[in-house]
């Protein structure tokens, strides 16, 4: 029996169209648009100005505040302007726009392909340098990694959990990185283990990636303390709380962080980025994303430079299919629908999904037939049907007492509802309002 989480869960079709496609390098763009807010927390502060020459890997915006992340140039060239542009959120936000000239890297970056296994830095140096490198959670949440690794005073971790679940349908970037960079990932994990002082790391991989499980199991035998935990395929297993419950059977209490149960979770892509940052002195300015969709000519996985327009990566994969109705940054369950293909790819871009109308169009909303399927699929043990009604009625007190803030917005309820009710839309509204009330109370 494979392990999995025990409350709720759904089984959407995997549609991992690009799983067999090796990672390719996307050509460097002519103009890179690098937003200064690519992470959760305060936007970084630009430290370059119009006309400045920059090199690949050079710091161009500095973290402002504790929860924030450095931004580095992904290209070499001249800062063309600093301006507000539309990003993946649909809002206009500040970005540093660089006119690309050649591909000149900072000399401090080790560009060789040699595997460096020896970890020379101390725990403190590692956390500081991960922060310097601007590493954020690459699963899509983009929470600054150094903040997660700086454990609150008095808290001790006993296990590092690596999120290699990739439970979103369609996405395969983590899958490919595991197949192609397993050794680097293992060293990255050992660096992370040293940073939080644990002897044990567990890599959670879903059973729909048997090749990755086999390969990672084989490679991990060379690295002490790292276990592979094959998991039964079930969405949303990549949710931090669900992954911890699945791998080590511990439930994080409502409102608490993983460290409350002695765990720290990092994405497998982040582990690779940590390897590059610590062993190769290379900040985070490129990553792997999946470009996919049933009508797309070549669903594939690309290593791209941050700031590349979405359009470039689609063109490289065969161009935008004619029947495209929705362009999604991320997966179909939790990704964001983009307004245009001109927005830049960022550190959080794990994939780009093109859906045709029949796959994504919403159907007519019917009356709730009280089948209770939303209750049985909710991985947080909530009652989505009730939360929707309470949100409609603006009953914020009961929304709070019925734990609306525990909702992880995985979308399992809306996905399942036979009456096509927009459960999560209303729950989000209610959650936003209750969040405001809670902050005002403090």
């Amino acid at each position: 029996m494979l392990k999995t989480f025990s409350i709720g869960g759904i089984h959407p079709e995997g549609n991992k169209l690009s799983a067999k496609s090796a990672i390719q390098e996307l050509p460097i763009p002519k103009i890179a648009t690098i937003p200064i807010a690519q992470h959760i927390g305060a936007p970084a502060k630009a430290i370059v100005k119009k006309g400045d020459e920059v090199k690949v890997g050079q710091l161009i915006a500095k973290a402002s505040g504790f929860v924030s992340a450095n931004i580095h140039s992904s290209v070499s060239g001249t800062v063309f302007k600093i301006d507000d542009v539309m990003d993946a959120t649909g809002f206009r936000r500040t970005a540093i726009i660089i006119k690309v000239d050649g591909d000149e890297w900072l000399e401090t970056i080790d560009r060789s392909k040699d595997l460096v296994t020896e970890i020379t830095q101390t725990k403190e140096e590692i956390i500081k340098n991960i922060g310097e490198a601007g590493i954020v959670g690459l699963g899509g949440a983009t929470f600054p990694a150094h903040v997660k690794l700086s454990l609150p005073p008095g808290k001790v971790a006993d296990v590092l959990i690596i999120n290699a679940v990739e439970c979103e349908p369609y996405l395969t970037s983590d899958h490919r990185v595991m197949l192609e960079k397993a050794d680097e990932i293992m060293v990255g994990i050992q660096i992370l283990m040293k940073a939080i002082d644990v002897k044990r790391a567990i890599i959670g991989i879903e059973s729909n990636k048997p090749d990755a499980i086999a390969h990672m199991t084989q490679i991990s035998s060379k690295y002490p303390g790292i276990e592979i935990c094959p998991l039964k395929t079930q969405y949303p297993q990549g949710g931090e709380k669900q992954l911890i419950a699945a791998t080590i059977k511990r439930e994080i209490p409502s409102g608490a962080l993983p460290i409350e149960v002695g765990a720290v979770v990092q994405n497998v892509g982040s582990a690779f980025a940590v390897y590059e940052a610590i062993q190769k002195n290379k900040p985070l300015f490129e990553r792997v994303a999946t470009v996919t969709g049933k009508s797309l000519k070549n669903p594939s996985n690309w290593k791209f430079r941050v700031g590349t327009p979405v359009n470039d990566i689609i063109e490289a994969s065969g161009g935008l299919p004619e029947d495209t109705a929705k362009i999604i940054a991320g997966g179909p369950m939790m990704g964001k629908a983009l307004v245009s293909v001109d927005v830049p790819l960022t550190k959080g871009s794990s994939g780009l999904l093109l859906l045709a109308e029949e796959e994504t169009a919403r159907k007519d909303i019917k009356a709730c037939i009280r089948c209770g399927k939303c209750v049985s699929v909710c991985p947080m043990g909530l009652e989505p049907y009730l939360l929707m009604v309470l949100a409609e009625k603006k009953n914020y007190e009961r929304l709070e007492s019925d734990s609306v803030m525990d909702c992880i917005e995985c979308g399992s309820c809306s996905f399942t509802c036979p009456a096509n009710r927009p459960l999560l839309d209303y729950i989000r509204l209610g959650k936003g309002k209750v969040g405001q009330i809670l902050r005002a109370r403090k």
Binding site: A325, L338, V341, K363, K366, R370, C371, D406, P418
Partner: protein, 331 residues
């Protein structure tokens, strides 16, 4: 870019599940019992079923179109289920005009008064059945014999149900052992060749439907299992306490409408609780009430009343039996 794109919040895909799929799934699960009733009761059961289904469609359509003035939703399949379930709860020789009244009460009072599918408190088919049982007790309790390929309708030969034989016999002071000897074998009761309403005589066909609905994830196991287990345990205890006065679990489970009620009536989405915990409480309540009414009440059969009474408790059950929240400590 020349095409316009949709921008909407996640999730961007849907399972493809629909109300119709679930409703027609239930109808498919009822087919074995329906076909078997045609076999056992012949022409009568076909007339009863067609009349019940047609009247349910007619009343649902007319009330929505002409009284409520809303877009009729007869395509969702729920009127079909109510019609078949209503027929399942009727003897095969019931006069057509009584069937039509039953359908009017089921759809009109049971469902539309509350605002239609999703809003009703009580199972519509049961509202119809109980109305008829109280208004036309004679017609509703004279069941034709299950003869097989029967072409007679109104003038069919009638037979008492096993539950009625036991109830009346015990009231007269006969011993349970003697009464049991008059009954068809347990195997006959499971396969269906006993007296009773259309859908309740064939336990095996109903169980087949249950298995289908469980495999297709149309319903969960909680309600039927809770009802059947409770009836088994409760009647088992009574039987052990005094075997001469109380029949055993096998008799209670196989007789009357217990399997029909546990599998198709109590599991109605709209009128059953939302959480698994709530479904268990609801099922246990139905099981207890059924045995209490059968053993201590005036009526030989209590499943319909038990389900309707527990329907009324569903809002309270929903409020008091929340699912276990993630991260909540088990008490």
């Amino acid at each position: 870019m020349n095409t316009k794109v949709l921008v909407a919040p996640s999730p961007h895909i849907h399972s493809g599940d629909s109300i119709q799929k679930n409703m027609y799934g239930v109808v498919f699960a009822m087919l074995p019992a329906l076909l078997l009733s045609f076999y056992y009761f012949g022409l009568g059961s076909i007339i009863v079923t067609l009349t019940a289904v047609a009247s349910c469609y007619f009343f649902e359509f007319s009330i929505q179109k002409y009284l409520l003035k809303v877009e009729p939703t007869i395509n969702d399949g729920s009127a079909l289920i109510t019609g078949i379930l209503l027929a399942f709860n009727m003897p095969a020789n019931l006069p057509i005009w009584i069937i039509i009244i039953g359908a009017l009460v089921a759809i009109g009072i049971g469902k539309m008064t509350y605002g239609g599918l999703g809003n009703n408190l009580f199972n519509p088919a049961l509202v119809g059945r109980v109305f008829l049982l109280i208004s036309f007790p004679v017609q509703m309790t004279s069941w034709p014999k299950a003869l097989g390929f029967n072409t007679s309708y109104i003038d069919a030969e009638t037979a008492a149900t096993p539950l009625a034989i036991i109830k009346e016999g015990l009231n007269k002071g006969d011993s349970l052992t003697d009464l049991m000897a008059q009954l068809p074998s347990k195997m006959d009761m499971f396969l269906g060749s006993t007296g009773g309403s259309l859908g309740e005589v064939a336990g095996a066909a109903l169980v087949l439907g249950l298995i289908y609905m469980l495999v297709k994830k149309i319903i969960s196991w909680h309600i039927p299992v809770a009802i059947i287990a409770t009836v088994a345990i409760f009647s088992g205890i009574l039987n052990m306490a005094n075997p001469e006065a109380y029949a055993g679990p096998a008799f209670h489970i196989l007789s009357g409408g217990l399997l029909l009620g546990a599998i198709f009536m109590a599991t109605d989405y709209v009128t059953s609780p939302m959480s698994n915990k709530g479904k268990l409480i609801y099922g246990i309540g139905i099981g207890l009430l059924t045995v209490v009414i059968r053993v201590f009440g005036a009526y030989p059969e209590g499943v319909s009343f038990a389900i309707l009474i527990m329907n009324a408790f569903v809002p309270l059950i929903n409020i008091s039996s929340k699912p276990k929240r993630f991260g909540e400590k088990r008490k």
